[in-house]
């Protein structure tokens, strides 16, 4: 999954991987692992494949209790902004240039250590926030007599696990977190259902603005992105597994509209413009 994603990114396609599943089903393990998860492996492949003209930048954020925090820098919560060209983005989010795999791994480790994690009855290291590692890639190539600029964004999204209060037995702050998590996952489910209906030709409002998560993932879910979903399941919990698979079954119906992000400049372009 990582290799096609990176190959697409090198050609200017945005990409997204999001891991979904109940708490304790192995989402963070699959994405990060002990530096052997999908994200570290994808970064390794990216730096092995990128050319010398490439610029790679990394950002890491989390959505905790419906507030966005920069995981690479201590600061107050950040705001979402919309721009016709950039789409939805996080204002003032730290973007760190990464020149090799070691830089990237260091960044990943730093951000991962800043995440909100707590022990619940269901999971001793339960992620209490949605975390997004964003890679921005750009490069310049010579094509005929033009300079071709390619840009892409890759989102690796580790969603917080859905949980039932009855089974996770959370209270106080943990319960407040669980409520925010479940609310944003419900928004995600509502958006997914609306996108599926919209893909079938129905005129329907897609409530992306209902949560920070759906607002940020807008492009990845129905727009300019080649997107993968990891549905993490734990065979011990059948009801939760069925719920995850039914959700995944809806997600697989969604069509996106990915296109290469490219711009030309140079002699040939000047001719075309005159």
């Amino acid at each position: 999954m990582g290799q096609p994603l990176i190959r697409n990114a090198l050609e200017g396609f945005n990409g997204c991987v999001f891991a979904y599943g109940q708490t304790g089903s192995g989402k963070t393990h699959t994405l990060i692992g002990n530096n052997d998860g999908l994200l570290p492996k994808s970064l390794q492949f990216l730096f092995a494949s990128a050319d010398s003209e490439s610029l790679v930048k990394g950002s890491y954020l989390e959505i905790y209790n419906e507030h966005i925090y920069d995981l690479l820098q201590d600061c107050a919560c950040l705001q979402l902004r919309e721009d016709p060209k950039r789409g939805t983005y996080v204002q003032d989010l730290t973007e760190v240039p990464m020149s090799n795999y070691d830089d990237a791994l260091q960044l990943l480790r730093k951000g991962h250590n800043n995440r909100h994690i707590a022990a619940t009855k269901m999971n001793s290291e339960s992620s209490r926030s949605h975390a997004i590692f964003l890679i921005q890639y750009s490069t310049k190539r010579q094509q005929e007599k033009c300079d071709l600029f390619l840009f892409s964004k890759l989102n690796f999204v580790d969603l917080a696990g859905s949980e039932r209060q009855k089974t996770s037995q959370t209270e106080g702050q943990r319960l407040k977190e669980a409520s925010a998590i479940n609310k944003s996952l419900t928004s995600l489910g509502t958006c997914i259902s609306a996108i599926v209906e919209s893909n079938k030709g129905k005129s329907i409002h897609i409530p992306y603005r209902d949560s920070k998560l759906t607002n940020l993932l807008k492009d990845s879910l129905g727009g300019n992105s080649k997107t993968f979903m990891i549905a993490a399941i734990n065979p011990v919990h059948i009801a939760e597994t069925l719920s995850t698979l039914k959700f995944a079954d809806r997600v697989k119906q969604i069509k996106t509209r990915a296109h290469a992000n490219k711009e030309y400049s140079g002699e040939e372009l000047s001719k075309l413009q005159t």
Partner: protein, 144 residues
């Protein structure tokens, strides 16, 4: 119509089914058909009326059509009298390009004991509590 039935007879030959019991001990028939083989079979059976309706870039239409026509055939042959209910699984094994614009779903199973099995022949099918699901890829716990 005769042409149609011949075409479906070929498709029916491509179906492979298994019976599963629901919570009340009633027999459910689960039929699976490979959509690419079905398309090929329709070509061979010259079922042009159906093919003319199919736009290959939108396989979803074909799946719905195929499901409907298989149900019609099951009714025509009184096959549904034998079971309480049925489910038709349309598989898309050799048409990966058609789903390349869709969100690709990979299922990863945590290595724990439980009532989940992955089809040994087709690494895109997972069965949970007698319910079959098909995704782009299923990673069984042994491969996790």
């Amino acid at each position: 119509m005769a042409e149609d039935v011949d075409g479906f007879a070929v498709v029916l030959g491509l179906l492979f089914g298994n019976e599963v019991l629901n919570d009340f001990g009633q027999v459910l028939l689960v039929l699976r058909v490979d959509v690419a083989k079905a398309l090929e079979a329709f070509h061979e059976a010259a079922a042009v009326d159906l093919l003319s309706l199919v736009r290959l870039e939108d396989i979803g239409d074909f799946e719905d059509l195929l499901r409907l026509r298989i149900e019609m055939l099951l009714v025509a042959y009184d096959l549904l009298d034998l079971v309480y209910d049925h489910e038709i699984i349309i598989m898309k094994s050799v048409l990966p390009d058609i789903r390349s614009n869709n969100i690709q779903v990979v299922v990863r199973i945590k290595p724990e004991q439980g009532d989940i099995s992955v089809d040994e022949c087709d690494a895109s099918v997972v069965t949970v509590a007698d319910r079959l699901f098909q995704f782009d890829r299923v990673l069984p716990s042994s491969a996790s």
